[in-house]
């Protein structure tokens, strides 16, 4: 591990509640440039809450602690600005926007990001060429681009659409919330290849998953186990294999 690399994400003693119940209870996590981290853990342990809190979902209230993203204190930054700073959340359940074409939606997203960075709107040709090549990479048909955002998509299409958006937006940190759930093996391979194609020294990824399989493709630098709102174990990618064999009980009991 390269200790000289700067932190992309730095979470300190984070406590979060939603609808009155405490979900995260003093969670700490640091992610450096170029790293891929996996977060695993039993249902209800706080994985999705962590993802949505980082993204700024207003259902989640921060009771204590700090989240720093590229040195910015995220708590006071609006949702869209977090995105424009380079934070991407791949949704566990992508949302449908009927009638709004995928292409129009993506172009609006890209231009919002460009506007934030004082750039002019992306030229239509450049945008379309890039979109086509990224869609091809993910095995998505052209017709897919003119359909309404996630409207009537299959589970696999929705997840691939999330990855398409990620590829187009070039985030600095991607949080993929159970992007592998509901995918068949072929789709998972395509999604994993898509994620791997973005990996470089500048980008970081958090993968939230229940399954070892995706991690076999992605080979994360770290694997964390969350239980009851805290990270209770951190290891390298071999930890995922161990969890696949033994489940979580040996960890949660020990605690």
């Amino acid at each position: 591990m390269n200790n000289k690399k700067e932190n992309v994400l730095e979470i300190n003693d984070l406590s979060v509640s939603t609808s009155g119940s405490k979900i995260l209870k003093g969670l700490n996590l640091s992610i450096r440039k170029g790293e891929t981290h996996a977060i695993m853990g039993p249902n209800g342990s706080g994985k999705s809450t962590l993802a949505k809190t980082i993204a700024g979902h207003t259902d989640y209230e921060i009771n204590n602690g700090t989240i720093k993203f590229l040195g910015n204190d995220l708590v006071s930054i609006p949702i869209e600005e977090r995105s424009n700073l380079g934070l991407f959340l791949g949704f566990q359940y992508p949302i449908e926007i009927p009638g709004l074409s995928n292409t129009a939606f993506l172009k609006a997203a890209i231009n919002a990001q460009r506007k934030y960075n004082d750039l002019k709107d992306i030229p239509a040709n450049e945008f379309l060429l890039e979109l086509k090549s990224k869609a091809d990479q993910l095995g998505l048909d052209q017709s897919f681009l003119s359909r309404g955002v996630n409207e009537g998509f299959s589970g696999g299409e929705k997840k691939r659409n999330e990855i398409l958006q990620m590829l187009m937006l070039n985030p600095k940190l991607s949080i993929l919330d159970e992007t592998d759930s509901g995918l068949d093996i072929d789709s998972m391979k395509i999604v994993a290849d898509g994620v791997n194609s973005t990996r470089n020294e500048e980008t970081s990824t958090i993968v939230i998953t229940h399954y070892e399989r995706l991690l076999n493709y992605l080979e994360p630098d770290y694997v964390h186990v969350i239980n009851d709102g805290r990270i209770i174990k951190t290891g390298d990618s071999t930890l995922a294999n161990e969890l696949e064999e033994k489940g979580y009980e040996w960890l949660t009991k020990k605690k």
Partner: protein, 482 residues
């Protein structure tokens, strides 16, 4: 947090009306009040033939016997018809003329509104008739249209130059006896637009009328008459704006369309009259009667309307499907906000055999506004094998607005088919969060979601105006590509 979100949505919805300025121009305005003398003065000013004056007077006599209709749920402050001025025009010599002679202040007004009257300007493919208060101030591209045999002029000019056509078609689709506001309009209408497309001609450009109310305490009562002769085609668009004022102003127009055998008329409206302030003060009363007569076989009339303005919108652009195999369409977006009220929809009257109609209505209601779809589909005994498809969708923003749907269906034969679909939905917090997570701020997100909701209707607009309509609905991108 829910509160915060609502606050943001509210701020977005409270954006100002951009067209609320007033033009300081000398005008000639009749004193308020309505009586036979006023009607005679209007008619005399326009040097009208006797048949027209008589028609006006009969309409006025009939109007006096009527009461303002009360069957809608609309909440309308009583209108004092004696306090309205029925005629106002910018002080310049009579009649539309070449651009060089038009008062520069007027040209400036239309520039500000984004309606270039210079023929070299960017909407070069569109001919415009500009109606300012009670009169048409200029009509562009007349020569080019004349080459194709198309008549496109102000109503007043048509009365002078083509009285036989006016006499033949005026009041034949919307007679003055039709309703209260149609009778009032027939009595006092001051100007408007006349279009005639001769046999076999496909109108070489989009035609458009831009209505502007400027003078205070006046009403605007214009008539539009479009006749598409056999096997002809025309696409026509009207746009509307008015200054911001505290009092309500009445706009009671009548539009009549006639399509003969194999003719097609496409009529689009982008209505953006001043809607009043957030407390419901001021704004235009838009009480309009619009009807198309598919008189000929295989004729087609389609209405597309984007209704975003007016304090109250009350109109039902309709089609009488008289000719066998004729078809009528109605595509509507009605967006209400603050205390706006819209009661709009259509009537599809199937008389001929094998006639078709399609109704797509999209209502968006925000804040405390009320948005009603009211429609009638009627299949007469003779309208065998006829078909109707109706789709009514409502989108609610916030939790104080109302959406209402009143469809009526009358079927008097056994071979016709009708389909009716209706949905009501809300912009969800999840949709907003999803857009925001992709970097799109809430304001643009709402615009995108609304544009998606309205897509089928926006796609019906002529290209040149789709942009304007999308901007009106706070949309940047939808349809620009893909």
């Amino acid at each position: 947090m829910e509160k915060q979100k609502n606050k943001e949505i509210n701020e977005f919805l409270q954006k100002g009306y951009e067209y609320g300025f007033e033009t300081d121009i000398e005008s000639e305005t009749l004193p308020p009040g309505i009586n036979e003398d006023v009607i005679k003065i209007i008619s005399a000013k326009k040097e009208e033939p006797e048949f027209l004056l008589n028609w006006r007077l009969k309409a006025f006599a009939h109007w006096k016997t009527l009461k303002s209709p009360e069957w809608s749920q609309l909440n309308i402050d009583p209108i004092d018809y004696q306090s309205i001025s029925y005629f106002s025009k910018p002080k310049q010599d009579d009649g539309p003329k070449s651009l060089d002679e038009v008062d520069p202040k007027l040209l400036e007004t239309y520039e500000k509104l984004g309606i270039p009257l210079h023929e070299r300007a960017k909407l070069a493919g569109v001919a415009v008739d500009a109606v300012f208060d009670s009169v048409s101030v200029v009509t562009t591209f007349k020569d080019k249209l004349a080459e194709a045999g198309v008549i496109f002029c102000s109503f007043s000019e048509a009365v002078q130059d083509h009285p036989e056509l006016i006499k033949k078609y005026l009041g034949k689709v919307v007679p003055y006896r039709d309703n209260y506001f149609a009778a009032l309009n027939a009595a006092v209408f001051s100007d408007g637009t006349f279009v005639y497309i001769p046999k076999g001609v496909r109108c070489p450009m989009e035609l458009s009328t831009y209505f502007r109310i400027n003078e205070a305490k006046t009403g605007q009562f214009e008539r539009t008459l479009i006749v598409a002769d056999e096997d002809s085609y025309v696409s026509y668009l009207e746009g509307c704006t008015a200054p911001m004022r505290d009092e309500n102003q009445l706009h009671a127009a009548v539009v009549e369309l006639i399509a003969l055998n194999d003719a097609e008329i496409k009529y689009s409206t982008v209505q953006n009259w001043y809607p009043g302030d957030e407390k419901g003060k001021g704004g235009i009363y838009n009480f309009v009667t619009k009807r198309g007569d598919c008189r000929g076989e295989n004729s087609k009339i389609s209405w597309t309307q984007i209704e975003t303005g007016s304090a109250i919108t009350w109109k039902y652009p309709s089609c009488i499907l008289r000719g066998d195999n004729s078809s009528g369409e109605f595509h509507s977006i009605a967006l209400t906000n603050n205390l706006q009220q819209a009661d709009t929809g259509t009537k599809m009257i199937h008389l001929g055999k094998n006639t078709k109609s399609k109704i797509i209505s999209k209502g968006i209601s925000a804040k405390s506004s009320q948005n009603t779809y009211r429609g009638l589909v009627s299949m007469s005994k003779g309208a065998s094998q006829s078909r109707n498809y109706t789709q009514c969708d409502s989108l609610l923003i916030g939790n104080k607005s109302g959406a209402h749907t009143f469809p009526s269906i009358n079927v008097n034969n056994t071979s016709s088919t009708l389909e009716h679909e209706a949905t009501t939905s809300k912009i969800s917090d999840d949709q907003l969060f999803y857009c925001q997570q992709r970097g799109i701020d809430e304001e643009d997100a709402i615009g995108l979601i609304v544009s998606g909701f309205c897509k089928e209707v926006l796609n019906e607009l002529p290209m040149e105006f789709a942009v304007e309509a999308r901007a009106l609905l706070q949309v940047n991108l939808e349809g620009a590509i893909g």
